[in-house]
């Protein structure tokens, strides 16, 4: 043995710490159980999606005009990864909590916090291990996409990457939340209750306040389930990514504050308030940041390129007053077809919703219900249409500019495919679970002691 030497706290290598965290996740049952549950869950979703897509494609092959509505993003990717989202919401917290909860319960945390690492380093390494676990857990979903390609299906690289990136952010968010829950709870069971209360509470929040105006609409936006929707619509939103990253960072900072056991509670509370203020500032900046990219092949979130370019040159504020209740289907149409696209295209846009719930309830109200007023500069016009074909000329007229000439040759072709995926049952319900079980068994095998020969 060598004689004791003073050491510097910041000099410890990160590799052993990360390796330990990865081993800790892989040696537990929760990740493997989740993987085994994911196989039939994703397999069933994928089979259903392919079946429905094939039915729609049959009609499209007989009537080609229907083909351009067949997008694999909506038909295959979103429903298949939707089941993965459900599993991440309900099961992944148990995987993530393990990396900290187990140490708390076994007393290992009292050793860990004495090692020459900052508590933030410890938590970040745990988050990295959790992200690696998410990547591992996504294998059944990724295999479904590979199967789709094997069957002859089309996948757009940009759409697929964007959606997978959204799921990665969501998984990281759930993992960070679980780590925070584990840091404040005494046991893994309590941490699981806290994490699930937030994730399932988000669903409840969505169901109860979705479509409500004012403050309730703002509260609904805080729901975790909202994070995936823009990605599922083919949008890469800078503000959303910044917001999610801010919340993930906030959870990690809070976990770092609450992890060390020797700090008085009032000091932890003080530091927590600072973290929350910082996250609030980031969220504020994220809400202001309207940058987004439409990555869809069919450009569903954008007007035609020439319209986009022309609208971007309209510098005066465009004010839109909508006389519709938020739950009115016409408002949903207007929002999807016009308002969201204008919001991305025009630099200076404000929308106010003047309708109320009573309007929709009575079905009548005054005669102005259903009108949408467009004010640009000192000119205004009113329309009841929800179609951009009518509204864009109206806006151009208000702005005194000529509509751009229509462009040809950029129509989205659609990707109809009639195929049976029954044979993939063997993969999702047989081969893949068996492969995972074998990997699990392999990870539990007795180790050689070579790991100690070089340390």
């Amino acid at each position: 043995m060598r004689s004791p030497k003073p050491h510097v706290a910041q000099s410890a290598p990160l590799r052993p710490l990360l390796a330990k965290e990865v081993r800790e996740i892989l040696s537990g049952r929760s990740l493997w159980t989740m993987l085994l549950l994911l196989c039939p869950l994703i397999g069933y979703s994928f089979l259903q999606a392919v079946s429905l897509y094939s039915e729609s494609s049959s009609a499209a092959l007989q009537s080609p005009v229907l083909a351009n509505s067949l997008s694999p993003l909506d038909g295959i990717l979103v429903p298949t990864l939707g089941s993965f989202y459900v599993a991440v919401t309900l099961l992944f917290p148990f995987v993530a909590i393990r990396v900290l909860g187990q140490e708390k319960e076994s007393g290992a945390l009292r050793l860990l916090v004495q090692l020459p690492y900052r508590s933030s380093t410890l938590v970040v390494m745990k988050l990295v291990a959790v992200i690696l676990a998410w990547l591992f857990a996504s294998l059944p979903a990724l295999s479904a996409l590979a199967v789709w390609r094997t069957l002859g299906g089309h996948l757009s690289l940009a759409e697929t990457s964007n959606l997978l990136f959204g799921h990665l952010l969501y998984g990281t968010l759930v993992g960070a939340l679980a780590l925070f829950a584990a840091s404040i709870a005494e046991s893994a069971a309590t941490a699981a209750i806290i994490a699930l209360a937030v994730t399932i509470g988000s669903w409840v929040l969505d169901f109860t306040v979705a479509g409500q105006p004012g403050l309730l609409a703002w509260i609904a936006k805080l729901s975790l389930t909202q994070t995936l929707r823009p990605f599922e619509q083919g949008l890469l939103s800078g503000g959303l990514v910044l917001g999610i990253a801010g919340v993930i960072g906030g959870f990690i900072a809070l976990a770092s504050v609450w992890l060390p056991p020797g700090i008085p509670p009032y000091e932890k509370l003080r530091r927590s308030v600072l973290c929350i203020l910082a996250v609030a500032a980031i969220l504020g900046a994220a809400i202001q940041g309207g940058w987004s990219v439409d990555v869809t092949e069919d450009r569903r979130n954008s007007f035609a390129t020439t319209d986009q370019q022309l609208l971007a040159t309209l510098r005066l504020p465009l004010v839109i007053k909508v006389q519709l209740a938020p739950e009115d289907p016409r408002y949903a149409d207007l929002q999807r077809n016009v308002l969201s696209k204008l919001d991305r295209a025009m630099p200076n846009l404000s929308v106010s919703l003047a309708g109320s719930r009573q309007y929709a309830a009575t079905g009548s109200g005054d005669e102005s219900y259903g009108e949408v007023e467009y004010v640009y500069g000192n000119r205004s016009d009113v329309s009841r249409s929800t179609s951009p074909r009518e509204i864009l000329p109206l806006i151009y007229n208000l702005a005194g500019v000529s509509p751009p000439p229509p462009t040809a040759g950029s129509e989205y072709p659609g990707y109809p495919l009639v195929v049976s995926a029954s044979v993939t049952l063997f993969w999702f319900f047989g081969a893949l679970p068996l492969l995972i079980a074998l990997c699990w068994w392999w990870s539990r095998r007795p180790r050689s002691l070579r790991s100690l020969s070089r340390t």
Binding site: M1, R2, P4, A9, L17, S106, P446, R447, R454, T455
Partner: protein, 189 residues
């Protein structure tokens, strides 16, 4: 002990090390505490847990081999931690704490789970490290064990310090020239 290393918040007081105050930010460089009752990373193989600590403190294979040999852990390195007996779990904890480079090691009930022969073996290991310049502060309920291993004693009872010093100093204080540590403790409390 947990307060000393910062695992519990202190209400007041300061720690002095080598005649200088030791702030909380520097304690991790000097002190390492071995808690009682910990069973770290139960689903991992014992060798991997040792390897983790060895990697953190950049110990060579030779150094780790010497530590494992001295605490008698080599025969169970292939086992998972949850499969270790209480005694072997204690050996694992000792191997971990002895892998650290700290000058002062605090240990809570370090001989818990050992029989007399094993206790004597571990006492020999601690003595060997002490001769190389390390300091151990041991919390021991069995005063006979404490008398075997320690040079200086702090006798605690009812939250109060009842005696402090070497065995000879305590014998003088209690006028028990041939008294054991147990006799001295009974005389002081």
């Amino acid at each position: 002990m947990e307060t000393l290393v910062g695992l519990l918040a202190a209400d007041s007081g300061e720690i002095v090390w080598r005649s200088e105050p030791l702030p909380a930010s520097r304690r991790r460089n000097v002190l390492f505490y071995l808690p009682d009752g910990a069973r770290p990373y139960q689903d991992q193989v014992t060798a991997e847990v040792v390897s983790f600590f060895a990697g953190v403190y950049r110990r060579s294979a030779g150094e780790i081999d010497a530590t494992l040999t001295s605490v008698g852990l080599k025969s169970v390195l292939h086992k998972r931690v949850h499969a270790l007996s209480k005694g072997y779990n204690r050996r694992l904890l000792l191997a971990l704490v002895l892998s650290t480079p700290h000058e002062l090691l605090l240990m809570d009930a370090p001989f818990d789970g050992f029989d007399l022969r094993q206790t004597r073996d571990i006492i020999g290991v601690l003595r060997h490290h002490a001769e190389r310049g390390r300091t151990f502060a041991l919390a021991i309920h069995q005063l006979a064990d404490a008398e075997r291993v320690c040079d200086r004693f702090v006798l605690l009872a009812g939250g109060q310090v009842r005696g402090l010093g070497t065995l000879d100093e305590l014998r003088s204080e209690t006028s028990l020239p041939n008294g054991s540590l147990e006799d001295i403790f009974l005389a002081l409390t």
